[in-house]
Symmetry: C2
Subunit: 533 residues, 2 copies
């Protein structure tokens, strides 16, 4: 058992300069948890980023194998925290044990996936255009390029995935795989979880000989700490998962810097589901049940939580709504992540209950215990007119609440799809014929979302090469980049090009003999072959 | 011969609503050119982008072969403008004929390169993770993704490459290859060149059956037109090449939108050259001569123009400076792009002549004719102290002016490298031993620039797959993206992911049978093979 100290972890040192302190609370009891955490001072923020900048030179020159061993060791050390980590996370987040175990597995699996990505090495997008000294009218130079780490990265832990999208989430491990030092801003709702995981990472860094400053953790619950991290001159990129309001404020600050930096924010979305007629006929009840499962997964606190469902007015849609209402009634209330989120959820649901044209069709039959920050599942229904009169319904209410919109015609589905804000996902339930006959709807959704799901649900995202967890704003701040899946490493690199550079001084990935055996684009052809000259 | 009309080209129509007009001038004579151009009104901007948004649905669904034929036809039509285009460009820019011919060749070659990129098709980064329905504890879904066009793109033509980085530059042709409609803001210094090229593109669009709105051109010399284009709700991305001041203002506006869009700005840089001792010994004179050629190429109006040269104090460096001074004296003054640029150059050089610690060592021996907006080549020298006292020297002065900094020690080279702003390039002249013994300097430059050149010069950029024409801010607004070379297509796409999607409705690039034969990442392996299931 590690004894928690509540201090910042800055390089290999601990620090707690400020008297401004806070404690997390157990959302299931409302009680304060014992460890006292300190607000980071500007001096502490500066030390963390200065150390990160110093570490960058040595860290980016470690071999991919070194970085892979570091990542594997991080995963091992996080697992070695054992029960203490799971119990701490449960206490700080209200998450049940199976969820914590599952999430830890996703985090460590993800870290090992990035270790493998680093080892395999082709992700660097090595490109070589060979010289033609005799070309007329001008000789063609030798031009080679590959992806190069940007420098110190600031990561903002998310509240809703304390293990998989926090201190040791995809942001941190992809930055490490790329060769970037990381400074994490611990989430103030689960700071002890953050401390434990950070200490595991630091232990792994020491065991695998990584430079001091490759990782630091600072605490804070005020905007000043986040702003200080984003505005620090040594910060070269930042990754954030959280609310639109908080994300946009930091995004604006990142852009307003004298030297702007990319601020990769994933800010949630409404994740519409479209239930088309063929599917309603074939398996309306099954879809209603799957929808409620998706809506209540993690107490509705997933970025991909389905907030709106659209269908065409019909007997089958009525049956679907009855099924969803029944599912909602059967869903047990559960503790949300913290009192603030619970409060916002309660306010959001109350506002919906007072909107005209909106009808509550089902809610958890067991009442929610407010003292435990519990949320009950709520399903509303409305019609096209109701949605037109209540455009607020296009905005996410974080938690297990969703609205089914009964539309008279396909043209309404298309109209509403066109009014959606950028979203991480849209899901379509239908037959293949439904899909073919709703091409206009798909055309619209393709412009609105990052991921289109057929006969499935948006929650429970697969961590893999092809995954995209991003979308047009406000789903993410820059829709080219994902925050889940191997492509997310590209947030922390930029191309570096070498022209006429001698073989002996080139990065291994760009040398003629291709010692790492990676795939490269040589004169426009993809190949793993060495270059024979 | 086409008769110039000076109107905006909005879809297939012409328009000239505003009475606010302007004419370009011939910089070599100061005379106004005859065609009268109109400032675009908000209504005209709105029509151009509304048409572009409407065109997007049909255009993105054209096949890659269709888009390639469109690009090839554009190149053919631009060539078919023949002498009229060359003469028009010469009159508007002061560029001599060989430069215009060369630049036209680069533009058409670049368009055909993107046609080939579209045909080959692997650039879409198709990724497939196959399903595992029996996986425990949860089935693995079928997840596929590829790069998908973002929507209407606004392009700001650059003044310094009226053919290769303007209406028909890499921005426009890469956006077309990706499937994005384009609205170009014509550069007000060469509006007739813009009109001719735009009419060629529209002719190609008509011949190849592209939808109306796939391309529009609007004119304007006020900030309002640029702002209106960037702030229009249908604009999804913008590309800009120009000054830091203008670029930053538009970048800020793009970020401040309710829905921010990426603004890809290339804003020039100082492009330092480091001349190391071994190279100075071996071929100092040759480097001095190459440096002056690079400095005066295009009258010093290249983004990659070398503004600072660093060397270690030595007899050889003195000889190098003498050689550079002699080269400067031999360089003929030449007409700059327009009176505004010429004025800024003259002011910049005058300011340098009054800085203490800075000595003018050589300038064109033929006097510059101010009435022809001519610039003389100027080479200054200073020492480490002089640079420390004149930090303004780290900022670009656009034109054929450069400063050689004589440094006492390698530590000074490293100090100054560390003080550089982000730059498109840095060049090193040295022996292989020089390079190996200056690893500290290279480590610093790797963080500062996008392209490292060995024993070469930054100007005369090769258009190819491996090229990177970007760098840390302010060289470019987002250092991940390039504005030259095939990678520049990635500015105008984002991943779109399909989960559980039926084969019949998938994009061809993601279907099991791989009908386009492109390279894909299937379960983590790169392959062109179809998937047999």
């Amino acid at each position: 058992m590690l004894e928690l100290h509540g201090q910042h972890l800055i390089g290999r040192a601990t620090s707690a300069e400020s008297d401004d302190t806070f404690q997390a609370a157990n959302p299931a009891t409302g009680e304060s948890l014992p460890t006292v955490f300190h607000e980071a001072t500007p001096g502490e923020i500066d030390r963390a980023l200065t150390l990160a900048a110093e570490a960058f030179v040595a860290f980016r020159q470690t071999s991919p194998e070194d970085r892979a061993r570091f990542l594997d060791a991080c995963a091992d050390e996080v697992e070695a925290l054992g029960e203490q980590l799971i119990e701490t996370t449960m206490a700080e987040t209200g998450h049940p044990e199976p969820r914590c175990l599952g999430e830890r597995g996703r985090a460590t699996g993800q870290a090992r996936m990035f270790a493998e990505l680093a080892r395999e090495g082709s992700w660097v997008d090595a490109r070589i255009d060979l010289p033609q000294p005799d070309r007329q009218p001008l000789p063609k130079p030798d031009v080679r390029s590959l992806m190069f780490p940007v420098g110190p990265v600031v990561v903002f832990g998310a509240s809703n995935f304390p293990l998989a999208i926090s201190v040791f989430g995809a942001d941190t491990v992809s930055a490490f795989a790329a060769g970037c030092p990381v400074v994490v801003k611990a989430h103030p709702a689960h700071p002890a979880t953050c401390e434990l995981v950070a200490r595991a990472i630091l232990a792994a860094a020491e065991k695998t000989g990584m430079p001091e400053g490759v990782f630091s953790l600072v605490h804070g619950r005020t905007n000043a700490v986040g702003m200080g991290l984003v505005q620090h001159p040594e910060t070269t990129a930042a990754a954030f998962t959280g609310s639109l309001r908080g994300g946009r404020a930091l995004y604006d600050a990142a852009n307003a810097r004298p030297v702007p930096i990319p601020f990769y924010a994933e800010m949630g979305s409404v994740n519409p589901i479209f239930v088309l007629p063929g599917a309603l006929k074939e398996r309306g009840n099954e879809i209603a049940s799957g929808y409620i499962q998706s809506l209540t997964l993690g107490v509705g606190q997933f970025c991909t939580n389905p907030g709106l469902v659209f269908g065409l007015e019909s007997e089958e849609l009525n049956t679907f709504v009855s099924g969803a209402a029944e599912g909602a009634r059967g869903a047990s209330p559960a503790t949300m992540l913290h009192a603030g989120i619970h409060h916002a959820f309660t306010e959001g649901v109350n506002a919906m209950q007072h909107r005209s044209g909106l009808t509550l069709v089902g809610q958890s039959s067991t009442p929610a215990d407010e003292a435990k920050s519990e949320a009950a599942c709520h399903v509303f229904e409305t019609d096209a007119e109701g949605l037109r009169n209540n455009p607020e319904l296009f905005e996410e209410v974080f938690g297990p609440v969703s609205t089914v919109v009964k539309c008279p015609a396909t043209s309404d589905l298309e109209e509403f799809a066109g009014q959606l804000e950028g979203s991480l996902t849209a899901s379509i339930h239908g037959t293949e014929e439904d899909l073919a006959s709703h091409r206009g709807l798909i055309d619209i959704l393709e412009k609105k979302v990052g991921r289109l799901i057929f006969n499935g649900y948006p929650t429970g995202i697969e961590v893999c090469h092809a995954m995209h967890h991003g979308g047009p704003y406000p789903a993410t701040a820059h829709s080219y980049f994902t925050s889940i899946g191997t492509r997310c490493i590209y947030r922390f690199v930029r191309p570096l090009c070498f022209q006429g550079w001698p073989q002996s001084q080139l990065p291994a990935e760009l040398r003629d003999d291709n010692p790492r055996g990676i795939q490269r684009l040589v004169d426009g052809e993809y190949t793993r072959d060495p270059i024979a000259r």
